[in-house]
């Protein structure tokens, strides 16, 4: 009986020790900061910050290669959250990278579309449905409003339509009252 208990305890200790050691030895270094920054960014993948997407921009911020005020779709609100996460001062959006606009989705004027598929290639989130010489259309729920499809269109048939607030898209507003610092 005692022997059995000792054997099981022994196996437990050995297995536990090996696992504990290998957890330290084989630790995978992911960068949790990049993921946290990426979670704040709006995921429009629009490239207005000068990086090819939100994740590369997040990586650049984490490395200290980019400033936090280069994301117009995120707006002032996004900059404020980034400043809070990184413990740096809030700064207004850099106008070089564009102005914040109301959240909108792209709409294709289907009478004008010639089916050239150029916008399909530009879309970073595959929100445009269509094939060569077929009319294209945009899946509104997938569109991030990045405007990357506007410039490739040879017939200018895509425009941005702001999302109107209705019962399905309404959200609680963030509280606007700022805490006054104690004198």
């Amino acid at each position: 009986m005692l022997e059995a208990i000792l054997v099981m305890v022994g196996i437990g200790i050995v297995v536990g020790a090996v696992l504990g050691y290998s957890a330290i030895r084989f630790k995978v270094e992911g960068d949790p900061l990049v993921d946290k920054i990426d979670a704040i960014l709006p995921q429009t993948q629009c490239g207005q910050c000068g990086f090819p997407g939100c994740k590369p921009y997040a990586t650049a911020i984490a490395k200290g290669e980019a400033d936090i005020n280069q994301c117009p779709p995120g707006g002032e609100d996004g900059v404020r959250k980034l400043a809070e996460l990184l413990g740096v001062e809030f700064k207004p959006l850099n106008a070089e990278h564009g102005e914040p606009k109301p959240k909108s989705v792209a709409v294709i004027d289907e009478n004008l579309c010639i089916g050239c598929t150029l916008c399909l290639q530009a879309c970073p989130v595959d929100a445009i449905l269509g094939a060569a010489k077929q009319m294209h259309t945009i899946i509104a729920s997938e569109c991030t409003g990045c405007e990357l499809c506007l410039s490739p269109c040879p017939v200018d048939c895509i425009h941005m339509a702001p999302i109107e607030e209705d019962l399905t898209s309404w959200k609680w507003k963030y509280p606007v009252t700022r805490l006054r610092p104690a004198a």
């Binding site: 022997e3 297995v15 290998s22 084989f26």
Partner: protein, 192 residues
């Protein structure tokens, strides 16, 4: 020659899933797509080979004939440990392989074939190398059954199945028929 016989015997004649009816939950659960079936098979092969070897060492040198009743308990502890260890090593050394095997690695701990084969090893009084081959063969048989079954299930997706048979029921019928087919190998190779 003997080892090749063990391999052939466990893969075809005594197929762990289709003849011994062990490890049915991953067989039914992760066989909807061919890729996941292959990944699951690979992960199982890896763990089962290691697990058979480790279990042999434990039952032979640690437990002996007096503590035989601890086999099930100690095997499952060691196998769970091996699975965890494998997961950590694979994640560190080969992120690609980790992505392929991914969530299937921890799932293997609950696969009864993984516990069944070491116990069968002990019953059949295999030595160390035989245990390894038996484990690997069993896992390869598992992989074979998974891949065949997943292939059939992918075909079934597009087939015109009568309504009462759709979904799990036709999968069960298919598994039964496959099992029948594998029973045809019975007696082809006689393991001691």
């Amino acid at each position: 020659m003997e080892y090749i016989l063990i391999l052939l015997g466990t893969v075809f004649v005594n197929n762990i899933v289709l003849a011994k009816i062990l490890g049915l939950c991953p067989f039914m659960g992760v066989s909807k797509k061919l890729e996941t079936a292959i990944s699951m098979g690979l992960a199982t092969t890896f763990v089962l080979t290691l697990g058979s070897g480790a279990s042999y060492l434990i039952s032979e040198y640690l437990l002996g004939p007096e503590l035989f009743y601890l086999r099930t308990l100690s095997f499952i502890v060691v196998i769970a440990g091996i699975v965890q260890f494998t997961e950590m090593v694979v994640q560190k050394t080969s992120p690609v392989l980790y992505q392929v095997l991914g969530i299937y690695l921890p799932l293997i701990t609950t696969n009864c074939a993984v516990l069944g084969i070491p116990l069968l090893n002990v019953q059949a009084r295999h030595n160390f190398v035989e245990s390894l081959f038996f484990g690997m063969g069993g896992a390869m048989g598992f992989t074979l059954a998974m891949v065949l079954f997943a292939g059939i299930r992918e075909k079934l997706e597009g087939a015109d199945i009568p309504k009462p048979f759709q979904g799990v029921s036709i999968a069960m019928v298919t598994a039964g028929l496959m099992s029948l087919a594998f029973m045809g190998f019975a007696g082809l190779i006689n393991l001691k």
